[in-house]
Symmetry: D4
Subunit: 162 residues, 8 copies
């Protein structure tokens, strides 16, 4: 963590960043690549992003279930062990909303982080601004691109811009 | 609160129920009417459900703002004073999802309640089950009709069914 | 709340006592009768003690469910809205274990109260002492009779013995 | 923690799993063996599972005590230093109920974990379902076999099924 | 609390508003007058605003003290009993910064409220915007006039604009 | 709560004050008398101050116990139901140390209040200053007389000196 | 942490033990020696036990102060930075009371730990039992010798007796 | 952490110290140099102290913004990700006030730390004492020079003076 006055303080703190939300584009890969290129000490975590595995998380581990509602219920419980633990661990949460699907779990994660006093950054296009106004209000920043998220993390960790 | 053994305990506790989510149908009115008919000691609260007023909450109180993003930002801040205070006050939150709009603020409220350890009940049609599986999993109940919510509250308060 | 020195302080504080556990004997009635006889300002709450209603809490409010596991799951969720709210409200929890049934929910309630830093009193026969040692250790008192619970509450509220 | 998009993130996070409950069968050994076989980064903890030592935890460390109730009381206090510390440390708690004994301490641990917002998984046969409905409801998953618990942890950590 | 659908819910909730900061102008009087005129159920609290009394809070209650630093120290301790209790009680905090004096205690109160997750509104002229940017960022709203604060509270409580 | 600007705000808030510590002199009576004389809206609470009753709190409610250590243990558990509940309820705790006895429970109560972030005032003679320096440091004020405690509470509630 | 079933789990967890209280005898040395002899993974912390340094902690770091009360006040503040940080860090606190001095800070530390839900062990002679009954009641164990504290920690960490 | 009795305990604990406040003099450099010279295991963190970068933290990472108020708002949000995370991480916060500028963010940080129960040390000249009395009162120490802060940390960590 850089401090004033020229004293060299090694940036040994590893920042934990949880990447929540949309799983159909490569935004996580782009953020990770940007962070690696900038040599920032960031450790990433995320929900399971393999859509099929995530949907089968309950029946694939605990056994068959015939009713769709309860199949989802079992799966969501198993996924919550992962997501709630990793969100609690994180220093910063990035919440991505894409232009398709309802992505209610992304908004749920944002509300969960907000209530814990955990800082989060939203990432979405301006078309979604009005619908996301409550979610954006409780965020510390709203980014439009993965590169902006990288820029935010670079500034937060190293105090450097562009 | 009724207890076993025939001792008469007057149900003096007033339950606070916060009604979150969709604002385009009459579900709040139906829940309130059902609760009144059942003579249950419930006090309701809710976000501002006048859509136009809610959208103007910032500029209508704090003054003009030309940029849509910041207009929403101001409004969401003013609304959050109300919603977060009332959710923290509530004993139970009911979160309603309709078939239109994205309703991310409803999912945000559910995540917020979950992180506070506040019990909530979701209210939506089966068509939304898969998309809402994470939100339903953290709920104590998923209802399909306003009448079911009334039945839940009647049971919770009086211990009576049907 | 009585204080030293003869100053008259009216005992206006109403104590909330939650009566958890066994539902097959009249221990709740006896505690309530004793408290009323002693004119103590105590307000009682309890889980729903109508066994049949409690078992049907889910299907009786939210609709049919064919699988026993999920029927219980729905019912336990609805019951938890009541029990967790009332335990959080309570000043003191009394946890009763009888000589029949496994009563795991009573032990669950005790663990829940312990983690919240909520004082609780256990009520059971000496035959159960060894099996309940962890539950008793985290309690502030272990009583053998309903009358002893009344005596504890009388002392706690009025500072008077026998 | 694996994330989408092919970026390699080393699974450096060590998950802490606390294995609570029944001490008369080899379920802990089977879970540990399965986790090791799957090469998962899990660190286990548990209560003291040597029954005789656990019963003598008080008198074996603090000196003789003639009354059985207080002997248990002393032992339970010493055991609680271990169990409550390790449960607070854990990311996930597994709570096992066998078909013998009352195992109230297992249910107590589940209630304790629930109040802390700590995710837990129950492990028991279907015969116990009805009696454990409250304990199962607050769990994120109910498993029938040790192998299912391993599958849950493999999915939670690596996002992989079977 | 007004809800949708025409159901009449009496606004019985009394909102607690703490008025922090500058004590040399009549802003508190103007907010209170506006709230009364609008017939809003608001109960106000504030630090002691009699400057001389506030400065003497320590020596005037606990006895003489010759060193200015410790005199202030004693006074600040006595004042903190009041201010921290009332801020914790409040639903909303209004923090006023005037154009004179350093008013560090106002910024301290804002930071205190922020860490508690308590919503607050800042009230100051645009000239102070840059210097107050951190304090404004953690606020839910920034008002320029006492009348705007009244409008915010009216909207928050009644859902009405203008 | 008085506020600036002449607006009349009725002092409707009732302050809860817990009077901890020494039980052999009339300091509680003097504080209560002073508060009544000043017509302050204060509600008092305290531990049981009847020394004999307090010592018998366990055996007098729960039955005989032959070993002095466990007799004290039972009594302290029953007393803790009262003291910890009332300290958590209190707005302000006054902790009195006299010149006799060790009064470790008074210091325990102070540490308990400090960890809860609850403001407290110590009351003792200067002879004890050095021995009580840690306890005084975490207090918001150290008073020498009951009258000074009354003066502190008058200032805290009404903002008035002498 | 040893678990049932013969699986070898390396005891990698380092336990943090804070040694509070009396500073005039060699009890800390004896506990540390016993722990080292038993090869237990324990890391110790303690208040500053050099009596003269502790008394001068304020003036020796922050500059001269003529009044004894404020000298102690300054010193206690500086010491509290150390003690409160290390108590919060600790897994277990040992609180020692000797037969001399009032040791109110030891009782304060015990109350502080109790309110944090931090397990602690008291260490004192039977002569002090009655005076310490509240402090002992909130403890998980009361030991008479340093060797007993070592035995408790050995059991807690390794599950082994004598 | 040194303990009594000559037992060698290696000072392996790394203390986290956050240096908040004024960014125009070399006080951070002097504290760091003093800590290094004393070979103390301290890891420092701080807000971004490059004034220009800090002012551009929003627009430099998230894109252009024409209105000064919102430009500051964006920047303060990004800065808060860093500052609030590091303050929560810190064992001790040092808050520096210089003789120029209003430095409201320093007072905000102090209030934030106070509400979290995080110990902090203020650092400022006596001329500011009266204006900073509330901020100083909630601090554990008030230092006049960077060297005094070093002395405090040396004592806190090693128990040594001068």
């Amino acid at each position: 963590m850089s401090v004033s006055g020229g004293v060299t303080a090694p940036p040994t703190r590893a920042w934990q960043v949880y990447l929540a939300g949309e799983i159909h584009s490569d935004w996580r890969k782009r953020i990770e690549a940007g962070i690696r290129e900038a040599c920032l000490p960031v450790s990433f975590s995320a929900p399971v992003t393999d859509h099929a595995a995530s949907d089968d998380a309950g029946t694939g581990t605990l056994g068959e279930e015939g009713t769709p509602f309860w199949r989802d219920h079992m799966g969501a419980g198993v996924n919550a062990i992962r997501t709630q633990t990793l969100i609690r661990d994180a220093d910063v949460v990035v919440v991505r909303f894409g232009d398709k699907y309802r992505q209610w779990n992304a908004a749920f994660d944002a509300g969960y982080a907000a209530a814990l006093g955990k800082p989060y950054v939203t990432l979405h296009d301006p078309e979604l601004d009005h619908a996301l106004k409550e979610v954006d209000r409780a965020a510390q920043a709203t980014a439009r691109t993965a590169e902006q998220v990288v820029a935010v993390m670079r500034y937060v960790i190293e105090g450097k811009l562009g």
